[in-house]
Symmetry: C2
Subunit: 305 residues, 2 copies
């Protein structure tokens, strides 16, 4: 397992979500939850996160799947991280109603001894200082992937840049990539980020898919077309889980593997957004997932001559 699994360090949250398609109260969420449920389709996943003493057994059961090791989830006195948000009519914008960090505020990722040999790791969107603490506890990972957000780019640029030098794959959205580099043009932004360390930069564009810069050049993948979008929450972390889980399974960062990983991330994210929270993610079957990867291939290929 040590060679082919993946470690994720991020948040576990209880999300209250309202979209034009409905709502959920205190549903299981957080970057580590989405990531783990997606990546465990491919390889064993180790989760490092923190929950409060209010975290219900039913939520724990959702995460406790065959290939998810939850022994790295700390339980702290207090309440679990809570987030509440509402989406616009077209679901392209969301407004945060409330963020209660609770036990997440004092979180420090302490890796169980048995986790330190992890060879692949996803550092979900948390304080770059904590991301660095994780890397310092790992012996020699071949795959380090990182997510961040505008808050850390504004408030911890030096810490973020220091961590980025140790990263192979950086997942970031359009606006964050521009903010980090000061480049208006998204291609220049992606190239600028490569100078900061990551050899692979994945620009996440939501319903427009992902634009990726690798050593070989550009790779463009559209989103899988979804007719009945219910809840976009967690789409980015689910995408990361599918992509990196698949890459961990392949065991290398060749162009072919990276492209296939992005296709898997795109496919599994489409199932996530068709239902609320992690519901779609827990229900999707292996065959359906592969069918969407093949469908993506079919709907993007053309013969140039």
């Amino acid at each position: 397992m040590s060679g082919s699994g993946i470690l994720v360090v991020g948040s576990i949250a209880l999300d209250t979500i309202r979209t034009p398609a409905g709502s959920r109260v205190s549903a299981l969420g957080g970057s580590a939850s989405y990531f783990a449920l997606a990546a465990s389709r491919y390889v064993p996943v180790r989760v490092v996160a923190v929950v409060g003493d209010d975290f219900q057994q039913s939520h724990r059961d959702t995460l406790s799947r065959e290939r998810i090791d939850t022994s790295g989830i700390q339980v702290a006195d207090g309440k679990t991280f809570r987030w509440e948000g509402v989406y616009s009519e077209d679901m392209n914008e969301r407004t945060t109603i409330a963020t209660e960090l609770n036990v997440f505020d004092q979180f420090h990722p302490v890796l169980p001894e048995g986790y330190r040999n992890s060879k692949a790791v996803f550092l979900a969107n948390i304080d770059p200082l904590l991301q660095e603490e994780v890397l310092d506890q790992l012996s020699d990972p071949w795959l380090v992937a990182l997510d961040t957000m505008n808050y850390w780019i504004s408030n911890r640029p030096a810490d973020l840049l220091r961590v980025l030098r140790r990263v192979h794959i950086f997942l970031v959205n359009d606006a964050e990539a521009r903010q980090l580099t000061g480049a208006d043009n998204i291609l220049k932004a992606a190239e600028g980020i490569r100078m900061m360390g990551p050899s692979i930069v994945v620009i996440k564009r939501g319903e427009y898919g992902a634009l990726t810069r690798t050593e070989r050049g550009w790779f463009q993948m559209p989103a899988y077309p979804v007719e009945a979008l219910k809840d976009p929450t967690g789409a980015g972390d689910t995408f990361a889980g599918g992509m990196l889980g698949r890459l961990a399974l392949e065991g290398n960062l060749d162009e072919k593997a990276v492209r296939r990983g992005i296709a898997h991330g795109t496919a599994i994210a489409s199932f996530a957004v068709e239902e609320f929270g992690v519901e779609g993610l827990t229900r999707v079957r292996e065959g359906e997932l592969h069918a969407r990867v093949r469908a993506l291939h079919e709907m993007t290929r053309f013969d140039p001559e």
Copy 2:
């Protein structure tokens, strides 16, 4: 020529454009100009439009290329259609400073006798009543493609719907597709439009490429990545020119031909936006164009297994 050429009916304009990359005053523009310069890369193009007595010989020379027949351009007393616009810093938004319809206000498309056997036609964005007049003058076109805009959707819905029933390929942007159908979801909007007549619906998404619905299903093509965007004016009409010119050359609407057409439209549009007005379009060489089509193929393909 009658079988393999394409007719375009649209505007010829003198554009005054300001973008963050510079500006031009009274440069050759208009949907018919962009379309003709792109489509003539593939097949002979017949142009029906109107200009005023101020239309300069230099502009006429730009249009008078080997494969562009300008004998259908009417010259009317008065001034040529003029448009002035300014683009935002990221060029994703533009503000119209002035629109002077001038001779275009009284324009009626009268096809020269020799044009009536045209087998392929692009009805650029003009009053749907005029688009209908064009179709009434054609004997039996196998390829009718149409563009429109929010103004006609709001103010001439019945006329537009009547014309759409006679259209094979409809090119439309995201917002217009939603407006026309009342569907929030872009996939539902595209499917709704197919019920109105066109078997092929191309949703133009600017820097995010094109999403196309055909009888076979979805086809997704990203934009060609452009690092030094200078002027997005005319990108949609250039795309249409490349796509439909290539389709006219192929002579059928098979899935393969449609996808290849979209790739050619995407490639040629990328050259247009790298320079002001039609400048990029007039300079691009055959070899460069094909190289970008191949590059698009390279940057979108992946192996699903």
